[in-house]
Symmetry: C2
Subunit: 276 residues, 2 copies
């Protein structure tokens, strides 16, 4: 691993690292915020998964999360949203290819060679963090939009791996909305059973663990009806008595201004689940 950025931030350090990923077969960047407590002790980690078009930079420059991580003593890890590089398949559209990995393992050409973000987030990334930083194996996960899908789906598929999950404006039913249908058709082909393995609204019916789950959604979000529809997940959760908190916020849109307004409450929620 090579450190390529380091900035003092709220008495801790905002770093950016790059490494050759075995899962993805390419050089990947990731952002790590180390709060001041990390100089003294091993700390739990909150993973942040970003949305379409994002890199490891968006969250660390726009969310204002470092202040709260420093208050609670949480490490924040924000990876990139897809494999990257000239040798990696891509598409001209913003919602397919680089910047749009959808946190799955692709099975179709030309994507299958590198697009294994599910393996990267679930296995490779935490192993890397826990081996190279003062991190415990206590983890929580959250994200925005496509990354909210990633956080919810990964938490549902990996009981015992996370203490809590939260999402801003998540894609909760990707198999049923245009963004997910386009990406899943390309990455997974036409087998709709394969799609449901990455669809939180389908997965929750079989959940064996009830993880603390918080979702925030802006009512002024232009993608709310066409792409997000969080009530689909809430209804599927109610059908299996899975406790879930969905908060609708009048006026808020899909932007980082929404995330910045409530990221403090999300990190407090994760801190409580992580015993901080």
């Amino acid at each position: 691993m090579e450190r390529i950025e380091r900035h003092s931030s709220h008495e801790g350090w905002q770093e950016v690292w790059q490494h050759q990923s075995a899962s993805l077969g390419c050089l990947m960047k990731l952002a790590v915020y180390l709060p001041p407590q990390a100089a003294q002790e091993r700390l739990p980690v909150v993973y942040w998964l970003s949305g379409l078009t994002c890199t490891e930079q968006n969250f660390i420059t726009k969310a204002g999360a470092q202040r709260y991580a420093a208050e609670h003593g949480l490490i924040l890890v924000a990876p990139d949203t897809s494999p990257r590089g000239e040798g990696v398949a891509d598409d001209a559209a913003y919602d397919l290819g680089q910047g749009a990995g959808f946190y799955l393992n692709a099975t179709q050409a030309p994507w299958a060679a590198h697009y294994r973000m599910y393996d990267y987030i679930v296995e490779e990334l935490p192993a890397l963090i826990e081996a190279n930083f003062p991190a415990t194996a206590q983890r929580s996960i959250c994200g925005h939009s496509m990354g909210g899908h990633g956080a919810l789906m990964i938490a549902l598929r990996n009981p015992g791996r996370y203490r809590s999950v939260s999402a801003f404006s998540p894609i909760v039913a990707p198999a049923s909305v245009p963004w997910g249908q386009k990406a899943f058709a390309a990455y997974l082909g036409e087998d709709h059973e394969a799609w449901l393995a990455y669809d939180s609204t389908a997965l929750i019916a079989h959940a064996t663990e009830h993880l603390p789950t918080l979702i925030d959604q802006g009512e002024g979000d232009e993608f709310l009806q066409p792409q997000l529809q969080p009530q689909r997940l809430v209804e599927a959760a109610q059908a299996v008595a899975y406790p879930m908190q969905l908060r609708m916020h009048p006026g808020y849109d899909h932007s980082y201004y929404f995330i910045a307004s409530f990221i403090g409450e999300h990190l407090a929620y994760h801190a409580q689940a992580l015993g901080r």
Copy 2:
């Protein structure tokens, strides 16, 4: 004035407006944060002046200032850093021309036609804000780097106009450092007396008002020695018994990670001076 962006943020509104500026002779954008209290009452205004290469966007997306403005009930106004547009003189370098207005009134060709940021910030902008938003005439001013120069210099030249001034990593002696010397030679010509009218370290010797003044400077800032040297201003202030607080911060660099770490303290400082 035309509103071109509006986002809910910390229960208030982050807006971006554009208007035809009389001082600058071009279309200008400016960012205005209205905290929730602005729906009920007129509020004081903190002006933020950005640094080289910035637009009205950098501060509002990266500083995390809205949370604190909402806590205290302060309107935040962040203008662009120079006149803009195809008809406005420019230079290929990042430190001259568009994005590098230096908050002065240029006297030299080709700059004199549009580069009148001093008049814009001192007169036109507050008049516009106080006529079109729920703002009182109570003002404070702050900024970063070139914008820290702008805030200090404008406050020193306009006693009675501001209640407090603060700066991150300011250029305090532009007539004596490369960034300022290059810009002043281009905009003001070779008359060094004209330069000193925009040099805070020169101006403070004749200050008739002692304004609450706070400066934060990172010790890990690559521009500290070549361009900033805040001790020059502190020494000039001491010579005339002008009270000034300079805080040196080990490790912090010139980036928005530094600003985000301490903007809460700056807004609390201004809130106190503004009676909030």
